[in-house]
Assembly symmetry: C2
Homo-oligomer: 193 residues x 2
């Protein structure tokens, strides 16, 4: 699979492009690799790009009032990761985005995305659908945290991200589902019995 097969397949699920449009789209992207634990973005910086994960996995998180890591998003292969707050309002973000495995990405800057939307307006539809889905998933996560028990959230996590249960540490899974690592560890032990 060459570098652009995956992203073109992803786009192709939503819109139909000519070969010329595909070539133009991929000409706007640049590749960037990150080692495990390397930061794609740090709190306080301006985020002016969409990043597509072609290999590996990243998490976005922020530090809560006690300085503890709270994971907002986990983006595995075939997902985009974006700091919407910073991207949309053009101000420094308060998210960290960090690779949790060796990760390869394709980056589309805000400027290039504007060019793309102007020249190939079909991408309006692609990004609309993408954002509506991402927003729905994010709202679902908030309501899960408020309305499901920790055990139910863990079950749901395993179903939703089967490939991640091996990649993420227990600490990361605990942060994502909104429990302490100690609580998750006790829960897993009691399930094994």
């Amino acid at each position: 699979m060459n570098d652009h097969t995956l992203i073109l397949e992803n786009v192709g699920k939503h819109i139909s492009l000519s070969e010329e449009e595909k070539d133009y789209f991929v000409s706007l992207l640049y590749a960037k690799d990150f080692q495990r634990k390397e930061y794609l973005q740090r709190e306080g910086s301006n985020s002016n790009h969409f990043t597509f994960i072609t290999q590996g996995c990243v998490k976005s998180y922020l530090l809560d009032k006690r300085g503890e890591e709270r994971i907002l998003t986990i983006a595995p292969v075939d997902w985009w990761v974006v700091d919407y707050m910073s991207f949309v309002f053009e101000k420094p973000g308060n998210l960290f985005i960090q690779a949790i495995a060796d990760t390869s990405t394709l980056v589309l800057t805000k400027e290039k995305r504007q060019d793309l939307l102007r020249k190939v307006p079909q991408f309006e539809q692609y990004f609309r659908v993408l954002t509506e889905r991402a927003f729905a998933v994010s709202q679902q996560r908030i309501t899960d945290i408020l309305s499901l028990t920790a055990a139910e959230r863990f079950e749901k996590f395993c179903i939703q991200y089967p490939s991640l249960t091996g990649t993420l540490s227990q600490q990361q899974i605990a942060s994502f589902i909104g429990v302490t690592p100690a609580f998750l560890s006790r829960m897993l032990k009691s399930k094994r019995k």
Copy 2:
């Protein structure tokens, strides 16, 4: 101001439409009024529409594990309210949407929105921008709850929604900024001293 002036102004901030396109757009909407405390949607129902607020104000909330109301969104005049989870994934939602003042709305069903997007593709841009902003505001709220003190969140609320401090009850404001009503009441008393 007639029924459609506000919504056309809202759309006009993002895209330019011909008179014919404007007429077509408003022909797809229907008006619906709600008395204070009336429900636009209840938990368990399928949400298949976007609702634009022309008068009044609504809140969306869910009941947490203890059966307490947790406000997700407050939509004043000139905002859309949508249960994205239910709308996007076409399954019963777990949100209540309720009028917190006598409210007038314009409704665009999913089906009509599909017609609109097909016939006037510029609306792809409108809904893309709308969703990116709504998503950014929602992410900002999560990070505010995690990283700001209750007093800072209250200050921010007063700046962001100046017109709402008179409309909402203390209990609703407390739920929105993520504190107990007793805590908000103590905080307000100590500010008045």
